[in-house]
Symmetry: C2
Subunit: 721 residues, 2 copies
């Protein structure tokens, strides 16, 4: 694939089809940018009606050009594009950047045109960026390609950037000077008819000028491929992404627990987390963090030292560092002693180290070098508030000199100065990131540390348990044959059992005598629960009775239950009751699966019982899960402390709970048509410490399930309508 | 008080005691700032060794000056200050600003000197700002006072600012141009030997040039007075505060539930919330918000419309708006229809309204005016990403023109442009706030709306219930007489009962026969709990047995309990057991009181049972509580939904729960020596819907309690040591 994209990102010759004589027109601006930015290859404007544009000879058709052409930028109206592509193919062009709009962003007809475009390009074996995009940029000195119509010419650096929004991409290119990040390559992906975000993740994996990758995304078109590539790339090159649309009202309206929790952004957030992508929530944050990655090594650990010449900002830095989960380093006695030898009496040699307002210039490098040498320190934030005695630019230069000598630890500098200082700074070459406020530096250190954690994260495995797949399949098939996509509680528990998930002992009874009989076999105390294909949320109708201590007690409770259902006029919906072993324990967790239309199965784990929806102490991951994923899921909920026995109950069997999640993952991987699944509660047994599925609910997508299981329609076509 | 401070903030004549000829010296910079800023009154440098400084005649002593002197700025070494103050008094000086350092910030000796200073000033009836401060500023055109040694001369505006950090104050004064906020007055409060933050809150309450107040605080020296004043002032003038030190490791090491939750910052955060102070977490945020308050009316409600020329930033704005608890306005059909009449087909007339990239200048005012007129819209964010077709400054001016004509709704403008645009902007007069990124604007709208909520918040009342104070007092006194500050469970519950808090029926039994007897009286099922002055955390030793159904059952459980205690070798610590009515219900809340050394009693309410410490779904307020405070507390926890019956249990009696908190507030107000108090759980009875105190724990500060109750020492002096 690399080779193919070289035609677009490192062309030797470009035809600009639709080059325009009119200043301000896109076809003029792109050509003008290409020239201004000093493209190292040959440029061939194509326009049947012009002779010369920007001093270059214009060709009537690409076929009139004598030299060979690697890439064409197409800016002509949509309807003329297919013919132009035919000519490009004839000319041997390998790469296209189509700026022209009017495709899928305009509706169904545009979409059709776009699909035709993609097929045409594929047929010719070309690669395409766009349509409806801003263009592409490669700042490498041997290329100097700016085939975009953004106003600003980009500053060169080692950061590659993809924008799924052309306008935002343009805005960011304009802001790059302010944002103090230099680009290696930039791609406005447009409608992504051919090349996608994933295509460029792959291309940049081994691109020698790119050390980190920034993404502005509004959708992730191929989550599985995105995740696979990101996992690979991000171990070597940090990926920092904005995924916009966090708040979109896309939450499933499903009534299940998992469904109502799994909002639009949960799946995306889980996927980014699992894939090692560092998420930023604003353009400013993305570039602040990018600055840190551009200039800092990845810290060994999370112990931060703050050096300041003013107490207030030191306190604010400490607040931010602690809130972000980092630690304030404990300065070693040796370092403290040395600092005391030259800092004034009023200075503080504890972290934050306060050199006080009158600190002369020479105290900066002396203090900084001592702190770099301290083994207790992994990263350093240097804060300076300007006073009349020292020029802030001198301080900046001094700190950069120290960094040049000691590149081993991240040093981030906060200069609480007016922006004219930063304007000055943008004119010189820097080797550390500079921020105006301590909070920005602290957040950047947190993200550097996140990268360290990711780099050291073990490669996870998705185990393959020996399970009774056929039994599960038969249960589902028999429900489908009855025209049901919603399994009964009993069926659901049987499916879980078939996959080796610990469920409590249970039996079905269709009347009170059978119930008494089964309860006598299981042994008291038991739980009695209604089972019904029609009644959901059993607790709300008083359909779950716990602590039944004897046969007599059971018969009383059964009668009372029937009366309650009759009062609600739903007694006729009762299929029977389940008699269950009563698992003793106060701790109730929940496991669940929801289906996101784009990301597929979304796995949930957290605090269960009546708290699921109110407290939302749950973690999500996109299926399939690895052993490392489930470990992280279980440990990330607050209720983990409860699982570990915070109040003296003894620890739950964490390994077994993790295995439960892995088995669930295998279940929904095997039966991808499972739409929703809840185990609520997964009760922690006081006796065995295991998580026991006390209740279960599984719903399948009937149409997909029938297709997958090879079942025809069983209900005269009604169920599939 | 106002009159007194006028001598400092609006002096007609100032003596600069310690004026210096040496450039860069503080005594030179202050005089030079006073002159450069155009002080409208008379300036008298005082220095025994100089003839002329900055062109002004220098006096050997303040007594040599012939005119009268309102205020003296003192910059001489600490040891010479007392004599200088004596002379100031002799001269009739009313106000002092003491820049000199070396006071309490240096230790015990300095503190003594500072206390002497305060007394001396008080004796003379003067007011004092400092010592160890940066100075004071009043930008009013009839005053033009800059008696500070900050580098930058402040821009005039309608915002007053107090800094408890001199260095940070200086940094912020330097940054004011960037921060786009103008000051009315500035005070560096220094060590606050006399004038405090509270003094100036009071002074600015009716100060005609001040519309809003900014605070940078590291401590709140008098929380009660701060709260009283803030409540009053903030209804008219928004107060925006940074309270640094959020992360300080000041959490009480107490083992109680409430103690371990009440971290250093909880009290401060609760106090700010109760007092109507808008909290900012960084300098940047404080000034971004201040800009909004300076330029915007307070919105009627929280429905925000976003107008943009680029989809990406529109989505990011929507994300931020929703995450901050604001709402995206539903644009009315009438407005939509009108917008459709002139916006291009590709534009979106739904919120966010996307005028698309090519929007000409005239679309900005047309769209904006239509949205202002829409009754569904309370606040507007206008976002522009610059393209070659329109000059961003023209857009800014157009938006400001619309604002001038329609001042009724907040309009916040986001210009995603490089900072040179903002540099240009700082040179002209603006009437709306401008931000570089949508997240800043969204946060500012959220804070404007917070002010609306505060302004409309009812004045709360602290009711006075009829309680049995004497009974509570007697119970505490009898524990104290036994040398205990920790009340037993039974005593604790009796105290709560005396204050009209619903506790469950209970009785004490010292042996199994008594226990059976009491249980028979209360009626089964009952709960049996150990009571002991020595054993804390009863569940951990298996000391709480629920669901005892009969006398036989009770006798079995009692025997088992004794065996468990014997196994731990603590059977001898058992005083007896409490037999309690078993309150049926699944919902367990917690009420608690902790004592913060500075803020006093900190009241807690939230989700109880085993979840308190892990889930931390709790709300805090500083005592005393009003009826509005408790309403907000109860509604602010996530578990409120559970209280309201999220899963079909029926709503708890919310009024009664609120009353419980108010009665607790009265209890700890009456007995201020109560150190810690926990009701965990406050169980919601399924039968009555009331919150019932099922367990209680009260600990008093013995020394304070004895003093307050007039008890002598009862244990040969050991208990008070």
């Amino acid at each position: 694939m690399s080779k193919e994209l070289d035609a677009i990102m490192q062309p030797k010759s470009i035809a600009i089809i639709g080059a325009s004589t009119k200043e301000g027109a896109v076809g003029n601006e792109i050509l003008s940018n290409l020239i201004k930015y000093g493209f190292t290859g040959d440029l061939y404007p194509v326009n049947p009606k012009a002779e010369e544009i920007c001093g270059l000879k214009v060709y009537k058709s690409i076929l009139d050009i004598s030299g060979s052409i690697d890439m064409a930028v197409i800016i002509i109206p949509k309807d003329f594009v297919p013919a132009a592509i035919d000519e490009c193919a004839q000319k041997g062009v390998k790469g296209l950047v189509i700026i022209s709009a009017g495709y899928k962003e305009t509706g169904a007809e545009g979409l059709k045109a776009e699909q035709a475009l993609a097929e045409q390009v594929k047929k010719y074996g070309m690669r395409l960026v766009g349509p409806n995009c801003l263009g592409v940029i490669n700042t490498a000195s041997e290329v100097r390609l700016d085939a975009s119509f953004a106003m600003a010419l980009p500053r060169a650096g080692r950061t590659a950037f993809i924008s799924q929004s052309g306008a935002l991409g343009a805005a960011i290119l304009n802001l790059l000077e302010d944002l103090k990040v230099g680009l290696s390559q930039f791609v406005s992906i447009g409608n992504a008819a051919d090349c996608t975000t994933e295509t460029f993740l792959d291309y940049w994996k081994d691109e020698p000028n790119t050390d980190q990758i920034l993404l502005y995304m509004e959708t992730i078109s191929d989550p599985a491929e995105f995740s696979r590539l990101s996992k690979e790339v991000s171990k070597k090159k940090p990926i920092i992404a904005i995924k916009a649309g966090r708040s979109a009202a896309g939450a499933s309206a499903a009534s299940s627990h998992t469904g109502s929790l799994a909002g639009a952004d949960l799946a995306a957030d889980a996927l980014l987390k699992q894939s090692g992508v560092i998420r930023a929530n604003s353009v400013l944050e993305m570039f602040e963090v990018a600055q840190a990655f551009e200039n800092c090594p990845i810290p060994k650990d999370k112990r931060v030292a703050v050096i300041t010449n003013s107490g207030g900002p030191g306190i604010m830095a400490t607040d931010a560092i602690c809130e972000l989960g980092l630690e304030m380093a404990t300065i070693s006695d040796k370092t403290k002693e040395y600092l005391r030898s030259f800092l004034p009496a009023a200075a503080s040699v504890k972290n934050p180290i306060d050199m006080i307002a009158t600190a002369p210039l020479e105290h900066y490098p002396k203090t900084l070098e001592a702190v770099i040498a301290d083994e207790n320190v992994d990263a350093i934030m240097m804060i300076s508030v300007p006073f009349a005695n020292v020029d802030p630019m001198e301080i900046a230069k001094t700190v950069m000199d120290v960094k040049a000598k000691h590149p081993e630890k991240p040093i981030l500098c906060v200069m609480m100065t007016p922006s004219n200082f930063f304007n000055e700074l943008s004119k010189i070459k820097t080797n550390i990131p500079f921020y105006q406020y301590p909070e920005s530096a602290a957040n950047s250190i947190a993200k550097l540390y996140q990268q360290r954690v990711w780099m050291e994260r073990q490669e996870g495995k998705t185990p393959n348990f020996s399970v009774n797949k056929n039994k599960a399949k038969d249960i589902i098939a028999s429900a489908l044959k009855e025209g049901r996509g919603q399994l009964t509680t009993l069926e659901s528990i049987d499916v879980l059992d078939a996959y080796g998930i610990r469920t409590c002992k249970y039996a079905f009874a269709s009347n009170v005598n059978e119930a008494a009989n089964e309860a006598n076999k299981i042994g008291y105390p038991v739980v009695m629960k209604i089972t019904s294909t029609k009644i959901s949320h059993k607790t709300e109708v008083g359909g779950v009775i716990v602590g039944i201590t004897s046969e007599e007690n059971l018969r009383e409770e059964y009668d009372a239950l029937i009366q309650r259902l009759e009062a609600r006029n739903i007694a006729q919906d009762l299929d029977g009751v389940i008699i269950q072993e009563m698992v003793k324990g106060n701790r109730e967790m929940v496991c669940g699966v929801a289906t996101d239309p784009q990301y597929g199965h979304l796995m949930m784990f957290g605090l269960g019982g009546i708290f699921v929806e109110t407290l939302k102490d749950v973690a999500f991951r996109v299926n399939p899960l690895t052993d490392i994923d489930v470990k992280e899921m279980v440990q990330s909920v607050k209720a983990y402390k409860i699982l570990k026995g915070a109040r003296g109950e003894g620890s739950a069997n964490i390994d077994q709970i993790e295995e439960t999640l892995l088995r669930l993952s295998q279940l929904v991987t095997d039966f991808s048509f499972i739409k929703e699944l809840d185990i609520n509660p997964l009760k922690i047994s006081d006796k065995t410490a295991e998580g026991v599925a006390v209740d279960g609910r599984i719903e399948v997508n009937m149409e997909e399930a029938k297709k997958a299981l090879g079942l025809g329609c069983c209900c005269s076509g009604n169920c599939c309508s």
